[in-house]
């Protein structure tokens, strides 16, 4: 896993209190990791803070899985 993927995973584990093993690329925050819609907003805020980027609402709406987040952050680092 890339450094970005590791950091994303760490945030997801901490924030959602889920088992690290479940935080795989294809895992959907809501369907697989038990997040509610407010959690997804908070995850985006946490990514913004960790990576020092701004994630506009239009992009945030397309970040549905762990892989989506990693892809966005890799493209916008």
């Amino acid at each position: 896993m890339s450094d970005i993927a590791d950091r994303v995973k760490k945030i997801v584990v901490e924030h959602l209190g889920v088992d690290g093993e479940k935080v795989v690329e294809g895992a959907s925050f809501i369907d697989d990791l038990g997040a509610d819609s407010l959690d997804t907003v908070e995850l985006v805020m946490a990514f913004e803070e960790e990576f020092g980027v701004e994630i506009p609402d239009t992009a945030a709406e397309t970040i549905l899985t762990v892989g989506d987040a990693v892809k966005f952050l890799e493209a916008n680092k």
Binding site: L38, V41, E42, M45
Partner: protein
């Protein structure tokens, strides 16, 4: 009880009767306050009267850019906004059939839409900190209606619906979102009424008098405090019994 030591509060409409009383009450309990309104000198005078822990962040709430700049300005002065009090409000009364589009739009913009934008901006930091208080000053007429105030009543009722919805969204993050509905309170807004109007109002108030700004500020202080942590999505009616809801 009711200590606000270490808390930062933004109060809109702080140049008005009720807003000044709220700012004074929060400040007296130890909060740092950021005072907003359009009359900058009046805000400066209040800030210097309060002494330390008081800042001034003027903004015209009918100007969307100014609204969007207000929360960041207050955060910059105080470090955070832990308590947001949306108190600014205007009336543009007219009987419904004569009500102008501008009268409707202005009242909705200042009384409802600016509050929406300020709440949205404030909640971000509150979610991160896992605590916050949002307090809106609505009105008894938002619940009962009032002839000549269709625009004002719509905005005030709109606040209640908006606050309840937001309260449900953020309750799990220890953010409470409540409104206070004053009845008739002695301020510049009610000074505009003539004696005959005042007398007729008082016949509908069991307490037999107008309320004071301080009585509204006391409710705001309660809602802002840690003691009110389990109160959310509510409207506290402070009206001398004129409407029992």
């Amino acid at each position: 009880m009711f200590s606000l030591e270490g808390k930062n509060a933004l109060v809109t409409g702080a140049t008005g009767g009720i807003g000044e009383a709220i700012a004074r009450a929060l400040h007296a309990q130890g909060a740092t306050v950021s005072l907003s309104g359009t009359r900058a000198e009046k805000l400066e005078a209040l800030a210097s009267d309060l002494g330390e822990r008081a800042f001034v962040t003027p903004a015209n709430l009918s100007d969307r850019d100014a609204v969007d700049a207000l929360l960041p300005a207050a955060e910059e002065k105080m470090g955070s906004v832990d308590i947001l009090v949306n108190n600014a409000g205007i009336t543009r009364d007219n009987i419904f059939m004569r009500m102008k589009d501008e009268e409707w739009d202005q009242v909705l913009e200042v009384n409802l839409s600016s509050g929406f934008r300020l709440c949205r901006a404030a909640i971000k930091g509150m979610m991160k900190r896992r605590s916050g208080r949002i307090i809106g000053i609505t009105s008894v007429v938002g619940v009962t209606g009032n002839p000549g105030q269709a625009n004002y009543a719509a905005a005030k009722a709109g606040m209640i619906g908006m606050y309840k919805s937001v309260a449900r969204e953020v309750a799990s993050r220890n953010i409470t979102v409540n409104t206070i509905a004053p009845g008739f309170i002695e301020t510049a807004m009610t000074d505009a009424l003539n004696d005959k109007q005042k007398d007729s109002i008082l016949t509908s108030v069991p307490a037999g008098r107008l309320g004071t700004s301080h009585e509204i500020a006391s409710a705001a202080l309660y809602l802002a405090s840690d003691e009110a942590a389990y109160v959310t999505g509510q409207t506290i009616h402070v009206n001398g019994g004129m409407a029992m809801i």
